[in-house]
């Protein structure tokens, strides 16, 4: 059982490093960074307490929101998905990404207190 899990994982990693283009890997690195930041914030909240609760929420929601927007960007610029996004060029995807981020930042900064 564990054997198959390990073999699945190693196969996945191999395919990932060879098949995915550099552009996508850059975005994946960004997503990993966001994930780590959110996880660390959550860890702090668990360990120390929720004292400025609004600040915690603001930070956590920013991480979650950025992750989601990053995932959307990755989906839209993946050339394999071109058929699903015929009307949206890569530049358009990036512009949407930036606009959504602006709104997210505005809301989060308002809430951070």
């Amino acid at each position: 059982m564990s054997n198959s899990v390990i073999s699945v994982i190693s196969r996945f990693l191999e395919e990932y490093t060879t098949k995915t283009s550099n552009k996508l890997k850059v975005v994946d690195a960004y997503l990993f960074y966001i994930l780590l930041t959110g996880a660390l914030q959550f860890l702090y909240c668990l360990l120390v307490g929720t004292f400025p609760f609004n600040s915690f929420l603001a930070g956590f929601i920013l991480c979650v929101g950025a992750f989601i927007l990053g995932v959307c960007l990755r989906i839209q610029i993946n050339p394999d998905n071109k058929g699903d996004f015929l009307s949206i060029s890569q530049e358009r995807a990036f512009a949407d990404f930036l606009l959504a981020h602006t709104v997210l930042h505005l809301v989060v900064i308002n809430f951070i207190g």
Binding site: N22, F32, L36, A95, N110
Partner: protein
């Protein structure tokens, strides 16, 4: 008791079918004197002279100012002629000189082009000076002017003018104006009826209506209730602002006391409406509104009903007249003490209005305390150990002692001193007064079913009222009532009360009730506990560390900015984007949402335009590359 009175009133009204409204205001003798005083003030011109002389004559006083009138007369002015002529009519043997032009001037004023006041003054002057006038022409002019000047004062003046015309003239149209004017009166609470123009207008209307009705010998179309309400309005004001107002009130009073149709009658008591054994006779005055006694009136008690028991004590009993005052010996009917509702009727003149009056009469009496027995009763045996009889107004010899095992008891009876009937007055109190401490405790003595008063003091039960202070208390009996002429305050005895001493409080607690209470300190909300700075700093560093990891990863992936084109739009885009991020920081530290949105709009639109341009250029470049590649591939394939 008041509810009972109102109920009686309503019942009587319904039963007898009479109106319940009686005048609440009239001119008493002092009011009449005050009115005469105001009118008697010295006058300097003809108008004031007219008001004073004619007003005083209506009230029965006369002023001799004939020379003044003759001196002030201006024979060319209609107003001057009017004032002088009218005033001279009120003075005996005073005749104004008549010139040749006088008649012409006055007749010229009687036309459709003059105001109603002018017509009235001219017509009055003509009739007072004895000069002939054509009544029908005056009527025509008046009717025309009424149509043009439709206000209250004008129509009232027209009514007054009509009283000077010959009785053969057609006054029917003008008589109808009385009813129309009466409809314009404002009803205030069902008690007052007046014009919104004020007291003077109402009083002048009353005068005009009755004078004209007398002149034309037709009853004025005013209902009795309306007459009473008018009386209330005109005579409610007891001090008058101006001579003309006083004049109008005097004229109205004279008109209402001596016209041929409606004479309001005032029935009032002389002094308080109380009878007793010492004063058994009820005195009533019957006057008109000027407080002149009515010559031909007869007063009759229709019914006298006790308010408490609703039994009718007297019915259809006449008053006897003595020296202008109506008297009735009410005590002859042997009424019990209390309040009685009288309904009296004034007869003898068909003109009388409001001749059925309700009166409340009090019958008072004297009370006597009899059979006062004081005793100290043992609780276990209920047998009086010591009973002594005390007679009013003496004090009991010796004091009574009661400790916690004994009760102090008091029995007595209250009777009417004159008839011997048992009474239950409103106030029967037993008062204990400690001379040393100043304490005063009051209890109520209650009658039982046989009207015997009993009071019992349970020493142990009542110790809280006495604050357990033992000592000698002076005992008073207090008896009082509105119908008693001799309220009683009787020092009956001294009572020594003994309470168990260990229960006596150290100080009287009531004194501390009014001292300042301890201060309350306000506790502000405690701020929440913060984690130590070391911990939060550590975690801040920890949270920021993935950024380093990101940079390392990107470097390893080979992400670079070598493709960065230094076109103005891309530079502007990047600068704008950096500004937006900077604005977020500034928003966090300094700004509020509205300011931020304002700046964001400016920076954002610039960034958007620049970014749009930049991305378009990038897209063009990318499509150019791929199309070249396709072309190259296709060309090679074709080959």
């Amino acid at each position: 008791m008041c509810n009972g009175c109102v109920f009686c009133l309503v019942l009587l009204t319904v039963a007898l079918g009479a109106q319940a409204l009686t005048p609440s205001h009239h001119l008493s003798l002092s009011d009449v004197d005050r009115l005469k005083g105001l009118l008697s003030q010295p006058f300097t011109d003809l108008a004031s002279a007219y008001y004073s002389i004619v007003g005083l004559s209506k009230l029965g006083a006369s002023v001799d100012a004939c020379q003044f009138l003759k001196a002030q007369l201006d024979p060319m002015s209609v107003d001057s002629l009017f004032f002088a002529a009218e005033a001279s009519q009120a003075i005996a043997d005073c005749e104004m000189p008549v010139f040749n032009e006088t008649r012409d001037i006055l007749l010229a004023a009687v036309s459709e082009d003059s105001t109603v006041t002018q017509i009235f003054r001219a017509v009055s002057a003509l009739s007072s000076l004895g000069l002939p006038l054509a009544s029908q022409e005056v009527v025509a002019a008046l009717v025309a002017r009424i149509a043009k000047e439709d206000n209250v004062l004008a129509i009232t003046t027209a009514l007054q003018t009509a009283t000077r015309l010959s009785q053969q003239a057609e006054l029917g149209g003008i008589l109808e104006e009385i009813e129309d004017l009466a409809a314009r009166l404002d009803d205030l609470g069902g008690v007052y009826l007046q014009f919104e123009e004020g007291l003077e207008a109402t009083a002048l209307f009353v005068t005009a209506a009755y004078t004209l009705s007398d002149h034309a010998d037709t009853e004025p179309p005013l209902k009795e209730d309306q007459v009473i309400q008018l009386v209330n309005s005109v005579f409610s004001k007891k001090s008058w602002d101006s001579r003309s107002e006083a004049f109008s009130v005097a004229c109205a009073a004279a008109a209402l006391s001596s016209n041929r149709f409606h004479v309001p009658v005032i029935v009032s008591t002389q002094g308080p409406a109380t009878v007793s054994h010492s004063q058994p006779i009820l005195h009533l005055l019957v006057t008109d509104i000027l407080s002149n006694p009515l010559a031909s009136a007869n007063l009759l008690v229709e019914s006298a009903q006790a308010v408490a028991s609703k039994s009718v004590v007297l019915s259809q009993a006449p008053f006897s007249l003595r020296n202008g005052i109506f008297e009735l010996n009410f005590m002859a009917s042997q009424p019990a003490s209390g309040y009685y509702q009288f309904t009296v009727a004034v007869t003898g003149d068909s003109r009388l209005v409001a001749n059925q009056v309700e009166l409340k009469v009090k019958v008072s009496t004297e009370v006597a305390v009899t059979n006062m027995d004081l005793s100290v009763v043992d609780k276990d045996q209920s047998i009086g150990t010591k009973t002594s009889r005390v007679d009013y107004p003496f004090k009991a010899k010796g004091s009574f002692t009661a400790d916690s095992h004994q009760n102090f008891a008091m029995n007595f009876q209250l009777v009417d001193a004159n008839t011997g009937v048992e009474l239950t007055p409103h106030q029967t109190f037993v008062r204990f007064h400690n001379q040393k401490t100043g304490q005063e405790v009051v209890f109520v003595a209650e009658p039982d079913s046989k009207n015997l008063y009993k009071f019992e003091l349970d020493t142990a039960e009542r110790k809280s009222e006495f604050d357990s202070m033992s000592g000698t208390y002076v005992l008073h009996l207090i008896v009082g009532d509105a119908t008693l002429e001799n309220p009683i305050l009787w020092n009956v005895a001294d009572v020594v009360l003994k309470f168990l001493d260990e229960e006596a409080p150290a100080a009287i607690q009531s004194k501390t009730l009014y001292m300042p209470k301890p201060d309350i300190q306000h506790l502000f909300r405690e701020p929440e506990k913060k984690p130590p700075t070391v911990v939060s700093n550590t975690f801040t560093a920890l949270v920021l560390s993935p950024f380093l990891l990101l940079l390392i990863l990107w470097f390893k992936l080979g992400a670079n900015i070598s493709n960065f084109s230094l076109s103005p739009s891309s530079v502007l885009f990047h600068v704008g984007h950096a500004c937006m991020l900077g604005l977020m920081y500034v928003y966090w530290t300094h700004l509020n949402m509205f300011q931020t949105l304002k700046y964001l709009a400016i920076i954002g639109s610039l960034t958007f335009l620049a970014g749009n341009r930049m991305l378009a250029q990038k897209a063009v470049k990318r499509y150019g590359q791929s199309s070249t590649l396709t072309f190259f591939t296709r060309s090679t394939c074709e080959n």
